[in-house]
Structures are given as C-alpha cells and as structure tokens.
Symmetry: C3
Subunit: 115 residues, 3 copies
C-alpha cells in the first residue's frame, strides 16, 4: 500500500545564469508530496501519519523560510527535489516504509517528481 503526505515550505531563490525572469531573486510556496510504500501492520497502519509528518518536517526544515541559493548553487525545482529525496531516504532508513516518490510543485501548475 502507498501513503501520501503533502506539506509546503516558503523559500526564495534565483537561477544564476538563466536568461529570463528566473535570474531575479523571487520566491515560491513550494508544495511537496512524499509517497511511501509498505505493508499494513497488525495495528492497521502502514505508518502512523504523525510519524510520517515528523519525518517530512525534518527533511524540509532547513529549506523553509530560506534563500535556497544559500543551500544549493543552482536551485532549480529538479535540484531541490533531489536534495529532499536524499534527506528523506536518510530519515526513512530503518523504518518499515520505503520512499516511492517525491513530487515538488513550483507554483500551482507545474511540478517535478523523483521516483
């Protein structure tokens, strides 16, 4: 079974070397959907959503209310998503679930997804 959890973080970024508006410092409310897969245990849960929420919160902590360029040299949606995936894989190690995918929306109508 798969579990999905959605969260958001607010951050500034600019794309160095980009020809166009994205070269200017601007910001987004990034929406994140983490999907994990696992089996239903005898307690009826794959994993308690409260625990998943903490894991996702920890993985997003330094990104929220930050300037992403202080963390990543080229903070495209693709590069931000890959960074979150690395953090989540580390946070999920030793638990009963595996990361299936991570979707990152930059605005309302566009997203990138790592599987």
């Amino acid at each position: 079974m798969k579990l999905g959890l959605i969260s958001e973080f607010d951050a500034a970024h600019s794309l160095p070397g980009y020809e166009g508006k994205c070269a200017r410092v601007h910001g987004h409310t990034y929406k994140v959907e983490m999907v994990v897969s696992g089996s239903v245990g005898p307690d009826g849960f794959v994993m308690d959503f409260y625990r998943l929420k903490k894991i996702l919160g920890t993985a997003l902590q330094d990104l929220d209310h930050s300037c992403l360029n202080d963390i990543l040299p080229n903070p495209t949606a693709e590069n931000i998503a890959e960074r979150i995936v690395l953090r989540l894989r580390s946070e999920l190690q030793g638990t009963s679930v595996e990361l299936f995918s991570l979707k990152l929306w930059e605005g309302k109508n566009k997203w990138v997804m790592v599987e």
Copy 2:
C-alpha cells in the same frame, strides 16, 4: 486508458487502543479517487462516467454518514481503503474495466492508496 472518478463521504470514527487524539470519536470528509483501466470502445468510451458514478456510489453507500466503527473494528484509513476495494472489485466484476487503484484522503493533506 485509465479513468478516474472522485467522490466524498462523511463519517465518524475513532481508533481503539491508539495513543493520541485519534482515540477520540471524531470525523472526516473522506475523499475517494477510484481509477479503472480499460479500452476505448466503438462508442468512444472506456465506460460512461454516469455508470462509474453509480458503481462508486454503491460501494460507498453504507460508509457515508456512518460511524465507521460500526462497520470495521479498527477503521484506519488503510483498513477503510481495503474495504472499499473489496466492494469495488465485486461491483466491477463482469464489466469491461478493471480496478487499477483506490486512493482515500483523510483530510486534505494525507492519503492511502491500494493498487
């Protein structure tokens, strides 16, 4: 081709033995997304959405405006989703489509999915 249909039902539940707020009787507007797969027929449909709507409505009928603990001993999102899947598989038997997945949102930001 895949077809998706979204519906909702309102229900109360509590999780017996859970340590935390979910042990109290509370409720959700559960959102459900059924996905079926099939081929496009000569009429241009995989299946008429009106027919799919009836099938999903039948599968959710006893859950809507119910206390889920009267139906399931431990109504976690996982267990509710599995029950809906059993009902849908039975309702879809003999039709031209197969159930591909069932997603159940408990609130706006979290869901479980059976495939």
Copy 3:
C-alpha cells in the same frame, strides 16, 4: 525524472447518439496535465517549464474556445485526450523529453489518462 504541467481550455461539445444530457450542446473548462520524463541536464533542468508551456499551448491551441464537434466527430473525453496525445508526441519529437502521460479532466471530479 518526471515533469508535470497543468493547463486549461474552454470548449463546447455534444455527444451525437448519446442517450442523456450529454447529447445536448454544452461545455467544460477542461483541465489538462501533461507529464514528460527525461534526465536532468548540466543546467539543472529536465526541460525549462517555459518551453514545456509553449509546447502544451501549441497542442491545445485549436481546442481552446472551439466547438469540439467541429474537430472530432465524437468528442468524448477519451477521444479528445487521444487527439492531444498525438499532437504532443509530434511537438515533443526531437526534444530531450518523452511524453509519459496525458490526463484530461472533464469537470472537477472525473478524468481520463493516456499513458
């Protein structure tokens, strides 16, 4: 990695030979989600969203503010989606990404998806 881009178009249609309300000329704000897959390049992009937006816009251009029956003899959601897929495959030829799926919502609660 996958990239998703959402757009909308407004169109009228009627389903000839259908028994029910869909036989009447009516309309929808169709929502479209194009998903493409590709690798992240040295610039940090799979494909610049501005370029993807143009490609999707071109594929939807003749459908927006049209009567779909002037374009397709039987404009069911399934047939409209397949037409958009043909256009997108042609527009994406020679680029670094491939079409993974095309989802078309007819209203808020139902969709068809070609993969």
